[in-house]
Symmetry: C2
Subunit: 436 residues, 2 copies
């Protein structure tokens, strides 16, 4: 890897997501050699991926070059690498570009879509956890509408214009809302020769309410907002299978749809050598103590989605969202300095800053620790918070301008099929999905 020897202790961070970046920033001016490994050369802002899929934002606006985040710090090194495994005893990380020794290792690999072993859904459905996946979905949606123009089979046409979104968490809710707005504001203008009113947007939730991690009032209100927008919300319904057209469920309900988006589960991205059964909790998360140390290791840590720190408030670990990852990254940064200096580490205490989801224009739900509110003001809060946490001044300005434009014009101009998904990549589908 051509990383020079240093007299400072070497910290290797795997993953440049919210947690990894927050940690690297904390350590950048300290007397440590920090090596960040990621399979992408950018950090991406996952909460806005659904806006890329629906043409509201350009993909580059929610990505930020990792090298730029930490420009000018002489002890910081980035390497574009895929991690293959870890040797915890010899303290080596094995990657596709060689091996690297660590003094401290931080696993911040995040999570990936969990299809629960259903290969049909994995190959024929769409996921939305990365920028290439979001762009694939954008292409597919647009290609399906172009295709709908060409068929005389009403069944087929309806299926091409319809969506099944599986999973009623923030991703599913926000995507469903965005699609409903497209159906209303854009499709009739773009496709005057299609009866786009027949487009169906189905949001399928296995539990008895959407946004189950939020308050009941938020769930109820979000459902009202969605229904107002014309989304069919299905609760207590489980999607079982998908053949590329027909979606079957645990009841008699079936859907015909050319687009199934799977947002019904994630699991932590585990690494060979650190994936022994006893180390893993729910959804493959690495069990860590209050100091983020992986069970049984003093110098191996995990933060963010991949870490399961069991606390009273969160017996199954913190929510897999940006906030816990950022806070954990920062806390671990301070702790590593303490550790090197021989001082006792401070246990992590999560400050719940609340959670939120947007459903559409002027419609959002916000749960703060002390307040809950929904509607226009919540929508402004949602926008402000997302702009605030986006990395990079340019990104903020460009996203803001797009939002203002989209708001005023009821439009989303990035409805571009830059890389066709269906026709060109059908054969490569798995490869591209896995490679993303």
């Amino acid at each position: 890897m051509n990383i020079p020897q240093s007299s400072f202790p070497r910290v290797v961070i795997i993953g440049g997501g919210f947690g990894g970046i927050a940690l690297a920033k904390k350590l950048s001016k300290k007397e440590m050699q920090v090596i960040l490994l990621d399979k992408h050369n950018y950090h991406n802002f996952q909460p806005l991926l659904y806006q890329v899929s629906t043409g509201g934002l350009e993909p580059d606006s929610i990505a930020y070059p990792i090298r730029k985040v930490l420009q000018g710090y002489p002890n910081f090194f980035f390497r574009l690498a895929k991690v293959i495994g870890i040797d915890t005893k010899k303290r080596w990380v094995k990657t596709n570009i060689g091996e690297i020794k660590f003094d401290y290792l931080i696993v911040a690999t995040g999570s990936e879509t969990n299809f629960f072993g259903n290969e049909n859904i994995e190959t024929k459905g769409m996921a939305m956890k990365s920028i290439p996946q979001s762009l694939n979905l954008r292409s597919l949606i647009l290609e399906n509408f172009e295709q709908a123009l060409l068929t005389d089979d009403l069944h087929e046409r309806d299926a091409l214009m319809s969506f099944v979104i599986v999973g009623g968490g923030p991703t599913g809710v926000e995507l469903a809302g965005a699609l409903a707005e497209i159906k209303k504001g854009i499709l009739p203008k773009d496709y005057p020769d299609l009866d786009t009113r027949r487009a169906q947007i189905n949001l399928v939730q296995s539990g008895d309410r959407i946004l189950p991690a939020m308050s009941e009032v938020a769930s109820r209100k979000a459902e009202q907002f969605l229904e107002k927008l014309g989304v069919n919300v299905w609760k207590d319904l489980r999607v079982l299978d998908y053949d590329g057209n027909m979606v079957t469920t645990n009841t008699d309900t079936v859907f015909e749809s050319a687009t199934l988006v799977w947002a019904a589960g994630v699991s932590a991205v585990s690494i060979k050598g650190l994936d022994a059964k006893e180390l893993l909790g729910r959804g493959n998360r690495l069990k860590v103590n209050d100091f983020h140390q992986v069970d049984g290791f003093e110098n191996i840590f995990a933060i963010g989605d991949v870490a399961q720190m069991e606390t009273k408030a969160f017996p199954n670990g913190h929510p897999m969202m940006a906030q816990p990852a950022i806070q954990q990254g920062r806390n671990l940064g301070d702790n590593l300095v303490r550790l090197v200096e021989g001082k006792p580490m401070k246990p992590f205490v999560y400050k719940d800053k609340g959670s939120m989801a947007t459903i559409g224009r002027n419609k959002a739900v916000v749960d703060l620790p002390r307040f809950r509110f929904q509607g226009v003001f919540a929508w402004f809060v949602w926008m402000f918070v997302h702009l605030y946490f986006l990395i990079g001044f340019r990104n903020r300005v460009v996203v803001f301008i797009n939002w203002v434009y989209n708001y005023i014009r009821f439009d989303r101009e990035a409805r571009l099929i830059i890389r066709p998904y269906k026709k060109q990549n059908q054969g490569l589908k798995n490869q591209l999905k896995k490679g993303s």
Copy 2:
């Protein structure tokens, strides 16, 4: 294709570039049924592709959905289709989505990179005529720098950091200038552990001056600007072959470079059924008369890069640029109306509005019909003109903001490897290049 019968004459336009869009706009309110076919669902602004390749602009900012250009016109139809051939006698266009009859056919298919039969250069070099190609180049450049970090072989490292740009027209000059600015302003900060001063940017021109279509003073000044930026300008040198690393020429000069960009020639995109030898001029262009009519046809027209209208000032046809295409599209629009109304058509008269190229920050050359100037003012004129011709208000604002940001910060933030080119697509290289 599911396009309704109409009592209006049917005009089929192949290609949504500058010419096709200008023509469609002219006809949108007339009593004609206008069908625009394109293999992409967007118009792209080719003059700025080099800025996508170099991370200065987001790809979506220079693309615009074709459906949106002509929203609200009831007689206008867009179909995403690849044209397979034309039956000029039966007046059919054959496409991958079916056949369509025409009363008037307009070929506006533009041009594609011409490798002059050199398969090595075609498969191992890069072209920059479409957005996916530009994104591939962006990925490759970034991947090569990441790779350069990993090797101890100085030769290899230098090759990974070096560029050979073949062709001294505007595309080659603008790309070389942009790369030189990246070398100076971004690489040292992004790759402090590489000696990026060793990166070589070579611009190879077969003729005796760069920008041969412009005035001699523009050529001379552009060359000075490039050399000031550290670009090696080679004149009277022809690139003969490329094995992915070594570039050989017609002299003893060789280059070692992992990136060869071929901008040394284009040829018109011809269509089966309209590609008889006697119809074609230089570079496969369709010979047309003063009314854009293809030789021997009354109802088949060609405009833009694909058309060769021989005039006194341009004995080999007009320059293959945006301006002639736009003007031809507009003139043909008026003429089609006249033709339908039984009035005589007006011959096309090209108004040369000048040409320009930018070399970098504060550096451009402009040839207007009456004035020629170079430097800072030329650079502002270049920016203003490009913003003016970009389609879409949002695109203009986003491009403008990116330019202001890049200017103030000496930065280009879209240095993102969204779709890896080298590792992932090596095997698919040809397929992706051809599919783009």
